[in-house]
């Protein structure tokens, strides 16, 4: 009975389940997807047990099917995230996120002398290497790497 109840709360009829989010990135994912401004039904959990990640987060968004270009924005902080597209309570498609070719307004430029760290201008990076995560700032032309990457 209890088990059924949990399922009732967490299952969604139509929408997207984003699974395998690193637990400490959950709120950043919510923020990058601008879900705090979304007025539909959202369920999320964090610090759930995961064999792969240790602790993971999960987000279920009702009635929303993300465009690739939007959902790929989370790939920088949740590279292993899995998407389940739900229609009429069943999974109709599974997707992985992919690091986009251009990243706008998520990552801080590592160069303290870059204009983006001094004026209100959205950062813009060209992704030169996806595996190593080598980003070239379109403004100051300096490189930001995974090791020194900061999320805005």
């Amino acid at each position: 009975m209890t088990k059924d109840k949990i399922l009732e709360v967490s299952a969604i009829m139509d929408g997207t389940v984003i699974d395998h989010i690193p637990a400490d990135s959950l709120f950043q994912v919510i923020s990058i997807l601008r879900l705090e401004k979304f007025d539909g039904m959202i369920t999320f959990g964090t610090n759930l047990e995961s064999k792969k990640l240790g602790k993971k987060g999960i987000i279920k968004v009702s009635g929303v099917f993300f465009k690739d270009k939007d959902i790929n924005r989370i790939a920088l902080i949740a590279p292993e995230a899995k998407l389940n597209i739900i229609k009429n309570y069943s999974v109709v498609e599974k997707k992985l996120v992919e690091i986009p070719d251009e990243i706008i307004g998520i990552v801080k430029c590592v160069n303290p002398q870059c204009i983006t760290n001094h004026e209100r201008v959205a950062t813009r990076f060209l992704v030169l290497e996806k595996k190593k995560l080598k980003l070239r700032c379109q403004y100051c032309e300096k490189m930001t790497y995974r090791e020194n990457m900061e999320i805005l």
Binding site: Q113, C114, I115, H118, E119, R120, V121, Q138, Y139, E141
Partner: protein, 303 residues
């Protein structure tokens, strides 16, 4: 008229470079032409740079245009806390083109996105200074008669020197072979060497400024600055190793010229100045013609 901004040397193609060099030659023959009569160009210098500003203003004046602007941010609305965004939005209503120098990197790209008129980057921090590169190309072409198949030596601070990076990018279109001479701490960064490899161009690296310069068509000198060294002792050890002296020029080729973006401190001995191989002062004169050409190309003036 290409009506676009010049922010980074890579914004322009090889064809653009060659067009600018052609137009520059016309200005060298006859520099005073009223092509900008009645037109206004802004020179916004958020940090002082006497040589670059005067060179641009001379270019604009020779074209019959007028300039508005400021020569350092202390005399501008920046002191009142105005953002670059607001300054550019406003100034772009006053003139045909903006020439801008700013201490922050990427500021010129940002300005070119905001501005409805073309922006010429006259230096954005340590990032780009494309008119310098074009005047370097002009000087090389003028003294060597060609840009193709030359052997270029770059000496000094190759790690932080923006002029050598931009010049390398531009010359990589012309089958150049390079020799990089610098202390270990100031070596040419890997990304530029990778670029040359990808283009199939030859380069070599050395710590010593020695006999190998006998092969050079151009020696491009840069300043080794003390503050670039993490170890002050290392600086003291190396500072004199990258000074060009007149006696060293004896073994160099007849056609060889010494270039330097200036200001020079002590990396070229003053006894080089009198040598016919010293070209760094003529280089600055070329800068005016090249800037006239850049402005003409961007604004579509019929030269």
């Amino acid at each position: 008229m290409i009506n676009k901004s010049l922010v980074s040397i890579t914004d322009f193609s090889k064809a653009n470079y060659l067009t600018i060099l052609d137009i520059s030659r016309k200005f060298e023959k006859d520099s005073y032409k009223d092509l900008l009569k009645g037109k206004v160009i802004a020179t916004l210098f958020f940090e002082p740079s006497t040589r670059t500003r005067l060179s641009f203003e001379s270019a604009i004046n020779r074209l019959g245009g007028r300039t508005i602007g400021f020569s350092d941010s202390g005399t501008s609305s920046v002191t009142k806390g105005e953002t670059l965004y607001d300054t550019i939005r406003v100034v772009s209503n006053y003139c045909e083109m903006i020439v801008m120098r700013h201490p922050l990197e990427g500021s010129a790209r940002y300005a070119s996105e905001i501005s409805k008129i073309p922006v010429i980057n006259a230096g954005d921090g340590a990032n780009q200074h494309p008119s310098q590169t074009l005047l370097d190309l002009y000087s090389i072409q003028k003294t060597q008669g060609t840009l193709d198949d030359l052997k270029i030596f770059m000496v000094g601070d190759l790690k932080y020197g923006r002029t050598v990076h931009s010049l390398l990018m531009a010359l990589s279109e012309f089958n150049t072979s390079f020799c990089f001479i610098s202390p270990d701490e100031l070596k040419m960064p890997d990304e530029y060497k990778m670029h040359l490899k990808a283009k199939g161009l030859n380069y070599s690296e050395s710590r010593d400024l020695n006999e190998s310069i006998s092969e050079a068509d151009i020696i491009y000198m840069t300043r080794v600055q003390k503050e670039r060294f993490s170890d002050p002792i290392e600086y003291e050890r190396t500072k004199n190793a990258y000074v060009l002296k007149n006696e060293m020029l004896r073994i160099t080729k007849e056609n060889m010229k010494v270039l330097h973006p200036l200001p020079r401190v002590n990396e070229i001995n003053t006894d080089v100045d009198a040598s016919p191989k010293a070209y760094y002062f003529q280089q600055t004169e070329n800068g005016v013609y090249v800037r006239q050409a850049i402005i003409s190309l961007i604004l579509g003036l019929k030269v």
